[in-house]
C-alpha cells in the first residue's frame, strides 16, 4: 500500500480511476459531483489522457460508447438528473457489451429535486433505467477508501464481463474527507480485448452494435447476456457483516446510511442490545442468499435508506417472509441519525413482530 493521504471522496474516486488506467473521461457539469470532473480535468492533463466536457450527458455517455468500442478504459460521472439522460446510452452499452464505469453521486429527486445527499436512484441503478432486458453491476462504497477500491474493481469487472458498471455514491461520501491509500488490488488477469474496432491489420472487419435484426438473433443475444448475468450473480456478490453472529435485530443499509447504522450498532452494543449490520457492497448482484441466511436466525430486520422504500424491496425479496422487515426511510436530502436508528432498533426489539413495512 502507498502513503495515506487526506482526500475528498470524489477526488479519491478520480485518482483511483487514473491509477486503474482510465485515460478517457467524458462528462457534463452537475452538482454534487463537480469535484470529480475538476479532478479528472487536471489529472488527464498531467497523464496525457483525454478530458472532454461534453455538450450534454446524452453526448457524454455516447462518447464513452465510442471510446469503449475502441478498447480504452473510459469513465463518466454525473448525478440523478444527468444519469437519467444517460439511460439510453447505458442500454446501448449493455446491448453492445461495452465496458465502462459510470459514477452517480446521488442527489435528491424526483425532477430537479435538490443537491442534498440521497439514495433515491437505487431503482434506477439496480433495475436499469434504460429499455430492454439488461443489468448493470452496481457497487456501493461507504467510505472514502472504498470509493477508491471499488472504482479500481469497477474497471476490472467492466472489462472482465464486458459490461457497464455503476459506482453509486451520494453527496455525503462524495464531499467528505478521509484518509485514503492507493494500493494495488490483487486481481487475476483479464481476457484479451479481441472485439475492439481499429487497427484491422489484415483481420476481418469487426462490428460493435446492439442491433440484431435476423430472426432469432436478438433472443440468442438476450440469452447470452442472461448467461453472463448469471455468472456475475454467482461470482461477484459482495457484502459485509458487522456483529451478525448473535444479532437479534439486523440493520440493512449501504453507503452513507450504512455509516449511520454502524454508529447505531456501536451504540446499541454499548447499551446491551444485540444489533448487527448487513451491508450490501454489490447492489446488483444483490446478496440474496447471504441475507436470507441472516433472516433465518434474527427477530427482525430494519432497513435504513435515504429514499422511501427502494432497498427494502430487495431485502423483502431476499428474506421471503422469514422475519419481519421494517423500514426507516429519509427522502429528499434527509440523512438518518444514529439516534433515530437506535430508537427504531429499540422499538423493534421491544414491541416488534408486526410485519408492516412503514416509513418515517
Amino acid at each position: 500500500m502507498g502513503e495515506r493521504t487526506l482526500m475528498k471522496g470524489n477526488e479519491a474516486l478520480g485518482e483511483a480511476a487514473v491509477r486503474a488506467g482510465c485515460r478517457f473521461y467524458f462528462g457534463y457539469p452537475i452538482t454534487p459531483q463537480n469535484e470529480l470532473t475538476a479532478y479528472m480535468a487536471k489529472r488527464m492533463d498531467e497523464v496525457g489522457g483525454v478530458f472532454l466536457q461534453s455538450e450534454s450527458e446524452v453526448a457524454a455517455i455516447n462518447m464513452i460508447y465510442g471510446a469503449s468500442a475502441a478498447g480504452v478504459r473510459a469513465m463518466t460521472s454525473s448525478s440523478g438528473p444527468g444519469i437519467s439522460l444517460m439511460q439510453e446510452g447505458i442500454s446501448y452499452l449493455a446491448g453492445a457489451e461495452l465496458p465502462c464505469v459510470i459514477v452517480n453521486v446521488m442527489r435528491g429527486g424526483p425532477g430537479l429535486g435538490n443537491i442534498a445527499p440521497s439514495q433515491g436512484d437505487y431503482f434506477q441503478a439496480t433495475r436499469g433505467g434504460g429499455h430492454g432486458d439488461y443489468r448493470t453491476i452496481v457497487l456501493a462504497p461507504y467510505r472514502v477508501q472504498e470509493m477508491a477500491d471499488l472504482t479500481t474493481l469497477a474497471f476490472y469487472l467492466a472489462d472482465k464481463y464486458r459490461t457497464p458498471v455503476v459506482v453509486l455514491v451520494d453527496a455525503v461520501l462524495g464531499q467528505m474527507m478521509e484518509p485514503v491509500e492507493f494500493g494495488e488490488l490483487d486481481l487475476p488477469p483479464l481476457p484479451p480485448k479481441d472485439w475492439t474496432v481499429g487497427y484491422m491489420m489484415g483481420r476481418p472487419k469487426r462490428l460493435v452494435t446492439s442491433l440484431h435484426l435476423a430472426p432469432g438473433a436478438l433472443e440468442r443475444h438476450n440469452l447470452h447476456l442472461k448467461e453472463k448475468y448469471e455468472r456475475i450473480e454467482s461470482e461477484e456478490v459482495r457484502w459485509e457483516g458487522v456483529c451478525l453472529e448473535d444479532a437479534e435485530v439486523v440493520l440493512v443499509a449501504y453507503g452513507t446510511s450504512a455509516r449511520v447504522c454502524l454508529g447505531a450498532v456501536r451504540k446499541g452494543r454499548r447499551e446491551g442490545r444485540k444489533v448487527g449490520l448487513f451491508r450490501p457492497i454489490t447492489l446488483w448482484p444483490f446478496p440474496w442468499k447471504a441475507l436470507r441466511e441472516v433472516a433465518e436466525r434474527v427477530k427482525a430486520i430494519l432497513v435504513v435508506e435515504m429514499s422511501l422504500g427502494q432497498l427494502v424491496e430487495d431485502v423483502r425479496l431476499a428474506v421471503e417472509g422469514r422475519c419481519p422487515v421494517h423500514l426507516l426511510g429519509r427522502p429528499g436530502g434527509g440523512v438518518p441519525t444514529v439516534r433515530e436508528v437506535s430508537e427504531r432498533v429499540g422499538e423493534t426489539l421491544d414491541g416488534g413482530g408486526d410485519e408492516v413495512v412503514e416509513s418515517l
Binding site: 455538450e55 453526448a59 474496432v197 472487419k205 469487426r206
Partner: protein
C-alpha cells in the same frame, strides 16, 4: 477489361446485397464512400459509425470496422472513437432524421469542437425507415404521413439547411452539398466525399457532405419521377456546391 474493372466491388464494400429500396439514393452514396476509402488506401484504419434509420444497414455493407450508434448519436460516438484512435479516419453516415432532428445538438457541438471526423449526411426530405413522416428537411407543402395536407410553416416550421447552419462555426473546415441525380452529379459528389475525408486526414477540422437523395418509396413516386423531384424541388431550395472549403491544403 477497363469497363469490367469499373464495376468491380470496392474492397471497402462487404459481399452482401444491398437492401435499399429500388431507386433509393443510399446505394450510390454507400458505394461512393467505399470507393473513396479504397482509393485513399485507408480501409484498415477507418472506423465507420452507423445510425438508426435506413442507413443502419451500412453496419453490414461497409467492409471496415463499424460501430452502431443510437438514433442521433453518431457524432458523440464518432468523437469517442476519434479521441481513442486519433490516427484513424472516423466516418459517420446519417440521415436527416438522425442528424438534423434528434442529433442536431450533437452535430453542432462536434462541428464546433472541430472534431476530426467526417459526416456523410443523406437528406431525402422524409423519414424513410419509419415509412414517410415529416423530417426537418421536408419541403414546404410536401405531403408526408404526418403532414397529410402538406408541410405548413406556421405549424411545422421550415426546412432546415444544415450546411449553412454549420458553415458559420469556426471548427468546421469543409462542407459541401451534392446529389446523385446524374452521372455528372455523382462524380462531383465523389469529389466532395474525398475532399471531406482528406480534410480529416490533414487534421484541419470537422467535415460534412450532405447528399440530396431520392426516396421513391416514401415519396410514392417511380424512381425517375423521384430523381426529377430532387432536381426540380430540392436542388432549387437547398442548392449544390461547396459551402465551405476554406482550409483545404490539398
Amino acid at each position: 477489361m477497363k469497363l469490367l474493372r469499373a464495376y468491380e466491388r470496392p474492397e471497402s464494400l462487404a459481399d452482401v446485397p444491398f437492401r435499399y429500396c429500388p431507386g433509393c439514393g443510399h446505394g450510390i452514396v454507400t458505394r461512393l464512400v467505399a470507393e473513396v476509402v479504397d482509393e485513399l488506401g485507408i480501409r484498415e484504419r477507418t472506423v465507420g459509425v452507423a445510425p438508426v434509420g435506413c442507413a443502419v444497414f451500412v453496419e453490414e455493407y461497409f467492409n471496415f470496422d463499424m460501430v452502431g450508434a443510437a438514433h442521433g448519436r453518431v457524432c458523440p460516438v464518432a468523437t469517442g472513437l476519434k479521441r481513442a484512435l486519433p490516427d484513424h479516419v472516423i466516418l459517420g453516415y446519417q440521415g436527416d432524421g438522425g442528424l438534423a432532428a434528434i442529433g442536431l445538438a450533437e452535430v453542432v457541438h462536434a462541428a464546433n469542437r472541430g472534431e476530426r471526423v467526417t459526416m456523410i449526411y443523406v437528406n431525402n426530405a422524409v423519414y424513410g425507415m419509419t415509412r414517410g413522416q415529416m423530417a426537418p428537411t421536408t419541403l414546404l407543402g410536401q405531403r408526408t404521413t404526418t403532414t397529410p395536407s402538406g408541410r405548413e410553416p406556421r405549424r411545422d416550421g421550415f426546412p432546415l439547411k444544415v450546411c449553412e447552419l454549420l458553415a458559420g462555426l469556426e471548427g468546421v473546415a469543409y462542407i459541401a452539398r451534392g446529389t446523385v441525380t446524374s452521372p455528372k452529379n455523382v462524380r462531383t459528389l465523389k469529389r466532395y466525399i474525398e475532399r471531406a475525408i482528406r480534410t480529416q486526414m490533414e487534421d484541419e477540422g470537422f467535415s460534412l457532405v450532405e447528399v440530396l437523395s431520392p426516396c421513391p418509396s416514401n415519396w410514392h413516386m417511380k424512381p425517375l419521377e423521384a430523381i426529377a423531384w430532387v432536381e426540380e424541388r430540392m436542388i432549387p431550395f437547398y442548392g449544390l456546391g461547396e459551402v465551405k472549403a476554406c482550409t483545404q491544403k490539398s
